[in-house]
Symmetry: C2
Subunit: 326 residues, 2 copies
Amino acid sequence: MQPFSSRPAGTVAQLGEIALIAAIRRWLGRAAPPSPAGMGDDCAVLRPFRGRPLVTVDPVIYGEHFDDGNTPREAGTKLFRRNLSDIAAMGGQPVAAVVSIACDPSLRIAWLEAFYRALAAESRRHGVPVVGGDLARLRGGLAATLTLIGRCGGRRAVTREGARRGDWIYVTGEIGGSREGRHCRFAPRLREGEWLAGQRAVRAMLDVSDGLAKDLRALQPRDARPLLDERALPVSPAARRAARRSGQPVVQHVLTDGEDYELVFAVARSADLQSFETRWRRAFPRVRLTRIGHFAAPDAAVPAGHLTLADYRGFEHLRSDSANRA
Amino acid sequence: MQPFSSRPAGTVAQLGEIALIAAIRRWLGRAAPPSPAGMGDDCAVLRPFRGRPLVTVDPVIYGEHFDDGNTPREAGTKLFRRNLSDIAAMGGQPVAAVVSIACDPSLRIAWLEAFYRALAAESRRHGVPVVGGDLARLRGGLAATLTLIGRCGGRRAVTREGARRGDWIYVTGEIGGSREGRHCRFAPRLREGEWLAGQRAVRAMLDVSDGLAKDLRALQPRDARPLLDERALPVSPAARRAARRSGQPVVQHVLTDGEDYELVFAVARSADLQSFETRWRRAFPRVRLTRIGHFAAPDAAVPAGHLTLADYRGFEHLRSDSANRA
């Protein structure tokens, strides 16, 4: 859906700011608590919570993270979930969200309504109120930025640091081809992340946003590099479709497409993998868990059927060319 | 300074994402704590803090909140301070900030460096680390969104609700003509806000962002409206200059220019004003404090020299025309 209208009727400019804020409150409904816990004052005042606070911020921008081929509902869902995925990657729980919208005055009210109703649905689904926001003008564009506050409820926050040489590499779900649709429909791995934070053997974790090849580099210890078992990779059907279309190898899509929003994590070399995997299946019988490789010494031989990430790169932000989508 | 360059040399596109993130870390310096307390993981992990958490978000957008006539330093300073001002308006203390940048790849590195160095200066000045952020592409534009986490340290949060008929209206500093330069240079009233939150007589408060005329409506009780003593208004020299240029009455500028970032608050009718004002002067000898009027019954007679706000309106966001700047 094209977000902007060439005629003034039905645009946010026509509605005006006060009516628009009232409409947003209505669209958010139960997702927006009354002031001062929610919108309407200079700040939102949250209830104190236990544990270390977490903060993350990610936008969705028209032409970058979504386009005319996406519904406003998909854009809103994606915005909320990509931030939830960051909380999941620390093993945390989401607490509250604020949403800042910058848009051309020609933005269709209908677009914005569907977008906010999607935010409201995510808010209710995950019990995370939308407590504030901002509306500003951005000529010729549309960007929505969501900041999510979370908490580590007593348990540790699982960071990207901590993997050691020899540790196993696991990933949830299936990877690659997210642009075929999954990037707007994925389920953030909140329960899984929290469970993993409770497992001692899990040493480091992140969510796959820029592609496994790029993101795994952030997880690797200084004295090791990832060695992946190519046949083990949990290839998504979308990655196969994308490969048929692009003519590139499937593995290229799996490693570099990005926006998978699956959890990738390191498990201690010394861990009882069978026990770990059995407990996972008991906790999450419907979520695939795959051991895809391990962190090996940089000069270690590459066994048959295995690959290093030297020839792959993930999504590069801020490039001026279209190489990222090539 | 024009933020964008027509030649690739010296633009963020040329630098690339990884080098750019390294540069941002360098520009922020001590303002950016190491991961996971700061940038570099999926979320920032904050230290637990006492009191109710506060959250606010405000952007600065090229062409809206700043333009070629502003330095990048001014844009960065303004971004941080307008959010600090929201924390001040609750009587809170700032804790941590995250900054999301969306920009065209032709953004000059020099622009971004000066912008981040301004954020770093504000961070150090107020002891508020920049703990995270995001970089994304926005074709043809430049928008920076800062979310500020704060806390109400044991004391109450002063909301916009609570003023009663008969209450006095006070404002800090001087008002009007902020566009002449002050909108990028004001000092957020953090210490003052915290002090006011400790005064029982202060019933409701906000910071003046869209103009006194518009913002005072958010403070007024249901059964009253503001009556202002025109001669008492603390007119800024910039408001007088703006009036000379525009040909409009000075009071128009004072009431509707906006972006003053001063605190306006209601003091209980029954309060000992002399004592209150004496204590203020002792605490803040260099900050002007002015009683500008009171909340009167809607049908109360308007005394000579007084005005209601019926004929004035403040800044309207999302208008498609240029009426806001008329």
